[in-house]
């Protein structure tokens, strides 16, 4: 049989549990914390949505299409900048380890505001002006994105292993930081390789 002291402990325990239960609304609002991993998605799709076939062998003045997507899972609304950049094989990509963006200039950009959990997608149509070929190089003079033409002056070099003049169109995701009041590189980028053919 239980002793009086055991019953006393039981009453105290029930009192404590009941008090916590009654005070739970205020306690939850005071100690509320957002759980779960905070991250953003960045992806590029073929024009058929999930079709993994991207443009690869491209010609000057022909138009190609891809779809870009951003997903916000940061726990609150986020303000993104997506920069479109073009590089040849010798130029640098962003450095994920050091969280550093590429030092190449942005040719085009998107600005997107998303709720937590919201996804943005947009088609991107592009074509190249030029290209001018010499013995082992291929020079691009312009890049047209969504009907706007940008001067690029980009030279690609013959890749004897891959047998082509390769350029990479890549996309860097930046996010606005309300603390520092500037956009900072969000350590995410995707790109597609393009082989410039005559």
């Amino acid at each position: 049989m239980l002793k009086l002291r055991d019953f006393e402990s039981l009453f105290l325990l029930v009192s404590l549990a009941g008090s916590l239960l009654i005070a739970s609304p205020i306690l939850s609002s005071v100690f509320a914390s957002r759980t779960g991993e905070k991250f953003s998605e960045l992806y590029v799709l073929g024009t058929n949505g999930m079709d993994p076939v991207y443009p690869f062998d491209v010609k000057g003045n022909d138009t190609y299409s891809i779809i870009l997507g951003i997903g916000n899972h940061m726990g609150s609304s986020s303000y993104y900048a997506l920069y479109v950049k073009l590089r040849n094989q010798r130029e640098s990509l962003p450095n994920s380890t050091a969280n550093m963006p590429s030092n190449l200039p942005a040719l085009y950009e998107y600005r997107v505001l998303l709720h937590d959990g919201e996804v943005w997608q947009a088609p991107l149509d592009f074509s190249f002006g030029g290209p001018h070929y010499s013995s082992n190089s291929c020079a691009l003079t312009s890049l047209t994105i969504d009907s706007l033409t940008f001067h690029v002056d980009k030279e690609g070099f013959w890749d004897s292993e891959g047998k082509g003049f390769f350029f990479q169109l890549f996309f860097e995701l930046w996010i606005y930081s309300p603390e520092s009041k500037v956009f900072r590189f969000h350590d995410r980028y995707v790109g597609i390789w393009l082989n410039m053919t005559a």
């Binding site: 009192s15 009941g18 009654i22 005070a23 609304p25 609304s77 600005r111 309300p178």
Partner: protein, 175 residues
């Protein structure tokens, strides 16, 4: 005609010609640089206006306000800002500046509404917290008081029951 001019007339003609040549080449470049600088400044102002409006929206969201409509409207401003920046990159400074001025107006409207919505949500949240706090204190006090009464009654009943029990004498007969 030139032969008929005097020394002063010829000098004026030469100075006028030289000025025309210099200004003809120089002015468009100066104007172009000025237009570009103006567009750059306008875009910078628009950029700051959108960022500032976004911060106001974030504050309102943190205070618990429903900011869906504001985010949609500000997203439109952000899209236009990207368009203005892209136009600037194609040297279309006039269009870029015009767009930037429009963005500033849109962003300021969003910021004003976000501030009002944020202040309202904040005061609503504060009064909700106050009410929750008071009701929690009252609820916990009442519950503890009830438990105390229950405990006293239980203790009394337990002790009375214990006292009613007869002591049992156990004798061990030595064998």
């Amino acid at each position: 005609m030139v032969r008929g001019l005097g020394f002063r007339g010829r000098r004026d003609l030469i100075v006028f010609s030289m000025l025309s040549v210099i200004l003809g080449f120089g002015i468009p470049e100066i104007v172009s640089a000025e237009v570009r600088d103006d567009a750059f400044m306008s875009i910078q102002v628009a950029d700051e206006a959108v960022s500032s409006a976004f911060e106001a929206v974030l504050i309102a969201e943190d205070a618990g306000a429903n900011v869906s409509t504001l985010v949609l409207r500000l997203n439109k401003s952000a899209n236009l800002l990207a368009e203005a920046k892209n136009l600037f990159r194609t040297d279309d400074y006039v269009e870029a500046a015009a767009l930037a001025d429009h963005i500033v107006e849109l962003a300021h409207n969003v910021e004003d509404e976000a501030s009002i919505l944020g202040a309202f949500a904040s005061s609503h949240r504060e009064s909700f917290l106050e009410l929750s706090f008071i009701s929690s204190i009252v609820g916990v006090s009442a519950f503890l008081f009830l438990m105390l009464i229950l405990w006293r009654r239980f203790k009394r009943a337990y002790l009375q029951k214990s006292l009613r029990l007869r002591p049992e004498v156990v004798s061990y007969a030595e064998t």
